[in-house]
């Protein structure tokens, strides 16, 4: 993989922000979009925009082919067994909500437990809190080790015969922890539970196979993997999805509609009420094609080089605290003594460097870290070592700028 070639594919990267070349280190929030994806969406709107599944006219057929072809692409990308196991959603949040609202509420009772972790994004906490409130089930947390990982012993002692659902993130959006999903799935299944995985931070950066990991549900977002916003997907094993009730009702998802009762389409369309996100799905499929043309292994290796280099350079700066385990995905969350993350992000922005500051939609994890906020730099295939240098120098400047405040 040649990073200069990759960068040429991303028009947005070639601009100045506050009179400095843009250094975009916020891909864990939203990744940038290559021309190939922009073109695919553009082509859809210019050439065959029309509604799907009503395929009498030509454009309708083309749109249906594009949309259903995108489903096929996602299926292959995730290693799913069947195409109908892929449901398009608005994103990971909507996918996780679908599982919690449909599978969760139908299968949980007040004798059951839901097991999650403190490192979850709010989107993999709140749907379970709500399902627990609605059914009387108990919500339990697997404790974290001081470095932000989980021990198999702790997972084993938290997941019990009472557990019906284990919901866990594949990669933490704050700590960069890569969780042993396959092992957790095994423990969940031994206890008769299903495992629901938030894959939003994993699929953009590593090769994922849902059958190999033997997970029951897996949720992803398009906009974190070079695709557009507003599209994502839920993978679910057919044996679960086929018995689940839809959560949204209306057009597109019905079979027969009578005055007082209706029946649903077959999988996966019963979960896709309303005109679907056609251009989004087509854009997401183009993003998958793009990532696969470069190779997920190459992308992962590139990010690993960048994050290792970034952490080593950050450790040179006195007063910079890096959170998370040594073995991490391509992001680094940190604080700089004496500089609030907001102030830090503003100073970095003045140098053209975009980082995230705040609680990263993980307030329980901030509590665990005993901080109110942190800053995060996240890397992707288009970032370079030179950009890491610019970031580190800007970090030093921020420290200098605020350094004398507290002396």
């Amino acid at each position: 993989m040649n990073v200069e070639d990759v960068r040429r594919d991303f028009p947005i990267l070639h601009q100045e922000v506050n009179n400095h070349p843009l250094v975009y280190l916020d891909s864990a929030a939203t990744s940038q979009t290559p021309a190939q994806v922009i073109d695919a969406i553009d082509d859809y709107y210019r050439r065959y925009n029309s509604n799907v599944h009503r395929g009498v006219h030509t454009l309708g057929s083309l749109a249906t082919d594009g949309y259903e072809g995108a489903r096929e692409t996602v299926k292959r990308f995730l290693g799913a067994k069947r195409t109908e196991e892929i449901v398009f959603t608005r994103g990971t949040t909507a996918a996780l909500n679908l599982v919690a609202s449909s599978y969760g509420r139908a299968n949980l009772t007040d004798a059951d437990e839901i097991v999650i972790t403190p490192m979850e994004h709010h989107s993999n906490i709140i749907p379970w809190q709500q399902a627990a409130k609605a059914t009387g089930a108990q919500l339990k947390y697997i404790p974290l080790q001081p470095d932000g990982t989980m021990s198999i012993e702790d997972i084993r002692s938290t997941v019990t015969e009472k557990t019906k659902i284990v919901a866990v993130t594949h990669v933490s959006n704050v700590l960069g922890t890569v969780n042993p999903v396959k092992e957790i799935a095994e423990l969940a299944h031994e206890n008769g539970a299903v495992i629901v995985v938030d894959g939003a931070q994993a699929v953009p950066h590593m090769s994922v196979d849902v059958q190999e990991m033997n997970v029951d549900f897996y949720a992803i977002s398009g906009h974190k993997m070079c695709g557009p916003t507003g599209i994502g997907a839920l993978y679910g094993k057919k044996k679960w999805l086929k018995n689940m009730e839809p959560v949204e009702f209306g057009g597109e998802m019905i079979d027969f509609v009578d005055l007082y009762d209706s029946t649903w389409k077959e999988l996966p369309w019963k979960f896709e009420g309303g005109t679907p996100i056609i251009s989004g799905a087509i854009g997401m499929a183009a993003a998958i094609d793009y990532l696969q043309s470069i190779g997920l292994e190459e992308i992962e290796a590139h990010e690993q080089r960048l994050v290792t280099y970034a952490v080593s350079r950050m450790n040179e700066i006195e007063g910079v605290n890096v959170y998370g385990p040594e073995k991490r995905a391509g992001l680094v969350t940190f604080n700089c003594e004496g500089v609030h993350p907001h102030d830090l992000a503003t100073v970095l922005d003045s140098k053209g460097v975009a980082v995230r500051a705040g609680h990263h939609c993980a307030q329980p994890l901030m509590k665990w870290l005993d901080v109110t906020a942190t800053a995060r730099a996240s890397f992707y295939l288009y970032n370079t070592e030179e950009e890491v240098d610019v970031f580190v120098e800007a970090l030093k400047k921020a420290k200098e700028y605020f350094g004398d405040v507290f002396i």
């Binding site: 609030h340 907001h342 102030d343 503003t346 100073v347 705040g358 609680h359 109110t372 605020f402 405040v405």
Partner: protein, 153 residues
């Protein structure tokens, strides 16, 4: 304008002074105080503002909280400025402050804004306006809650 000049319009010396030495930081011991908790859900900043209102006047104002230089210095300046003001005047001042944050021209003849004028530069940093207005929003909520109780609607 160079990027460090730009930063200087945001982080004026007086702001840094309030950040480093916040005025009125602490808790009012008196039981008869208004306490308003306010947070900025997008970033985790939080503040508790305490005010003692006597005969329609803000007799005391203190705050505790965690946040960035802009939110804490703004809280510090605000508590300084509203002490001794009538409730109405404090709300008017808050209105002036909101306008200032939007970069609008404000009539500053009515009040001595003092240090608060140093926060004018925040208007050029849209992402930080919510930091600056956090304490003011708490004040507005506290004072208008009192009003709501008198209303029938």
């Amino acid at each position: 304008m160079s990027s460090s000049d730009q930063l200087d319009t945001l982080y004026r010396q007086v702001i840094m002074d309030h950040y480093k030495n916040p005025r009125n930081k602490g808790e009012l011991q008196d039981g008869d105080t208004l306490k308003i908790n306010m947070n900025n859900p997008t970033c985790g900043d939080r503040i508790q503002l305490q005010m003692k209102v006597e005969d329609g006047k803000i007799a005391e104002a203190k705050f505790i909280g965690e946040g960035c230089s802009i939110s804490l210095s703004s809280a510090s300046m605000m508590t300084q400025a509203i002490k001794g003001l009538d409730v109405d005047e404090a709300l008017q001042m808050s209105d002036i402050f909101s306008k200032m944050m939007l970069g609008e021209e404000v009539d500053d003849s009515k009040f001595d804004l003092g240090d608060i004028e140093a926060l004018q530069g925040v208007s050029k940093f849209p992402a930080r306006i919510k930091c600056a207005t956090l304490a003011w929003k708490a004040m507005e909520q506290g004072l208008s809650d009192g009003e709501d109780e008198d209303d029938d609607d």
